[in-house]
Amino acid sequence: MGTLTIGVFSSLIGSMNLDFAVKLSEAAADKGHNVNLWLSGNATILAQKGQKEFLDYSYLIEKIKSLQEKGVQVGACEACSEGRGIHAGDVIEDITFIGMDWYVAKAAKSDRVLHIGVE
């Protein structure tokens, strides 16, 4: 089994890239791979507590909790979050609130890196 690190920079709602990253993380974790998931740029919105579920909008918090139960490590970019008004106390439990060096370190030690660097 290998290690896969996925970085995603796309917003929670509308850009389906974040949905993609979450579903691929789940598929890889279910096969026994170690998975790290990095949220940067607009993707940090997914780290914020209190997202309300609407049928129209991607609602991924429950999926993130389920990924964490499967051992997926989730990190969110501290600076990207704070620029958007999301501070440490606003972040969902067990999401690592940290600098970009966490991500590049995880990536460096992974067998595969899928970096989704678009909106």
């Binding site: 896969l4 993609f20 691929l24 598929a27 096969k31 899928l114 989704i116």
Partner: protein, 99 residues
């Protein structure tokens, strides 16, 4: 290198894709990239499908999300699931690029 490329948009500058070279090249059409596997604009297949020697994949879940079915897919493109993609990227490609 064995390079897996992800393509998620219908429009944009395809120029970087056209110039990429790799010992083994796989192109995964996901999100709005799936249209390249379906739409024949003015009767012509997408230029994205013209990369010689590449293996093409399209994500079944994203086809269906957009109202298309497996039997409409270009014959050069293999339909895969999230689970298949997880296997391909962990087994068949050592580097990945999301264009």
């Amino acid at each position: 290198m064995k390079l897996g490329v992800f393509y998620s948009e219908l429009r944009g500058n395809h120029d970087v894709l056209f110039r990429l070279k790799a010992e083994k090249l796989g192109i995964f059409l996901v999100s709005n990239g799936i249209y390249h596997a379906i739409i024949k604009e003015k009767g012509e297949p997408s230029p994205v499908l013209q990369k010689q020697g590449a293996d093409y994949y399209v994500l079944s879940e994203d086809l269906q999300t957009r109202g298309f079915s497996t039997d409409e897919v270009d014959s050069n493109v293999k339909v895969v699931t999230y689970s298949d993609i997880a296997d391909h990227i962990m087994n068949d490609y050592d580097k990945l690029a999301w264009l």
